[in-house]
Amino acid sequence: MSIKDIILDSIAEGVFTVDRDFTINYFNRRAEFITGISREKAIGCKCYDVFRVNICNTNCALKNAIKDDAKYAVNNVDIINSKGKKVPISINASVLKDDNGNILGGVETFLDQSEVSTLRKTIKAGYSSEDIISQNKQIHDMLDILPDIAESTSTVLIEGDSGTGKELIARAIHNLSGRKGRFVAVNCASLPESLIESELFGYEKGAFTDAKKNKPGRFALAKGGTLFLDEIGELPGTVQSKLLRVLQEKVYEPLGGEIPIPTDARIVSATNRNLKQRVEEKAFRQDLFYRLNVIKLLLPPLNQRKEDIPLLIEHFINKMNAITGKNIQSVSEDALELLTNYDYPGNIRELENVIEYAFVMCKERVIEPKYLSKDIITNQKTVNHNTFSEQYPRFGLIEKDQIVDALHRSYGKKSKAAELLGVNRSTLWRQMKKHHMV
């Protein structure tokens, strides 16, 4: 290896060079890491086949650099790497010439901006439906209709256990809606009953003893935007009737105010309680329930979408790497099994906390079981593989649902699914064929 190669392999930027036909003739180590393509495969290929940037067709930096004999810098572009991950990058491209000034091709350097992008997203909470990580059909069915829901002005009620990502969905609806106003979140359970009315609707100067100046409420702050009412089931009865009026008349009155103020805030509410049951118990107004329940989204708990656990773990590892500056690569197979067998009463929020704990404890690049919290180790759901396979007949036709279940549990690995079903791989294949699954 030449000194030049050692130097280029040591830098933090991806570097590749092309000839005049855009065929890659050099590819450094960092470029391998960012694209997920080895240099053996990359060299000799066209750059657009390896380096799948979103501007290849329209505004190729290398093409421009070679054409104009100039340097080009492009920010805010992305590539899709071989692992199917969109990687935000910034690009610099220059022309390469020989000693006589003849153009040989071009050189492109690129910097992975994933960490900056993750941090920016975390700070701004600028989530879209693409940030909702799942391979669960129920979630995907919901995501498919999310843009249509976002475009409408109807009220949305999101039901789901605590920690299932209700606020993330609400933020995604807001960000997809194109509404120019703010996303304002209110947790109805966290505010005392005496304060919630003034928090929501604001108050006028002199409304009560300490009201020395006008204070805008959350409805005013959410003008032109979205008002997210979390834990709506906890809203006191007096405020329920006021909220109903706002939903019906699209106007509200601040405390002590006389003039109704129009509002165009879009209402998205969420609850971890069964709101219909609360209506039957007379704890929640029926008319308000129907007003809020125009579009209902139901988020399944994490223990009903276990196939998402590996994806979520990967996501949280990337996020924590960006925040902490650590470089943890993955979780070990044993740790993954423990994490998958846990029941997560706190849902995704709990999983995130589990990963955060492991990050604090982990001194290696792979999270091993010893770095997991005691809760995970001690509260394992007893998944006995033998018991599981005994549920299924060893002979005859295996039901399609059982195969799907086994494939889900084994994350699509047919050999593992066959093991769970207590049959060999070829039998599983045959049964899948009988059910027209292949």
Partner: protein, 152 residues
């Protein structure tokens, strides 16, 4: 027709587009009994990937031959029953021929003229093989049979 197999190929020029979301046009093909009975190129009609899925579902697409796409899109298409041949690097015609023969697989690189050059896939990409992606065509009794199927 029940036995029709419909596929879609996002294109850049005459090649499989390097990215699903950056295609210029889209090639819609219907196979019946191993023969192409419908082939139409239309302008790439979407700006957001979600529209593409609905569009593909409306047309009854069973397989998508495309370049790079995000993992979540692969899952999304898969849960809707669309088999994804991703990261295919080839001229569209060569990809269609490989598909007809049951030889196409994700990450495949096909040189102009149809000769298979190799694959982008490495051990890290195994998790993409969620479905046996050549099975669609073989299930219709077409294409080359190989591997353990002979023993079953």
């Amino acid at each position: 027709m029940e036995h029709d197999i419909k596929i879609a190929i996002p294109l850049t020029g005459e090649r499989v587009a390097h990215r699903l979301d950056c295609a210029e046009s889209i090639l819609w093909i219907t196979f019946r009994d191993g023969l192409i009975v419908y082939k139409k190129k239309s302008k790439y009609p979407f700006e957001q990937c979600r529209f593409s899925i609905q569009h593909f579902l409306d047309y009854g697409v069973r397989a998508l031959i495309c370049g790079a796409l995000e993992k979540h899109m692969v899952y999304k298409l898969s849960v809707h029953g669309i088999t994804v041949f991703q990261w295919v690097t080839a001229d569209a015609d060569d990809a269609v021929v490989a598909f007809q023969k049951g030889e196409l697989s994700p990450f495949m690189i096909i040189e102009p003229g149809g000769r298979k050059r190799g694959s982008w896939s490495g051990k890290n990409n195994r998790d993409y093989d969620v479905q046996d992606t050549t099975a669609i065509y073989r299930s219709q009794g077409r294409g080359r049979r190989k591997g353990r199927r002979g023993n079953e």
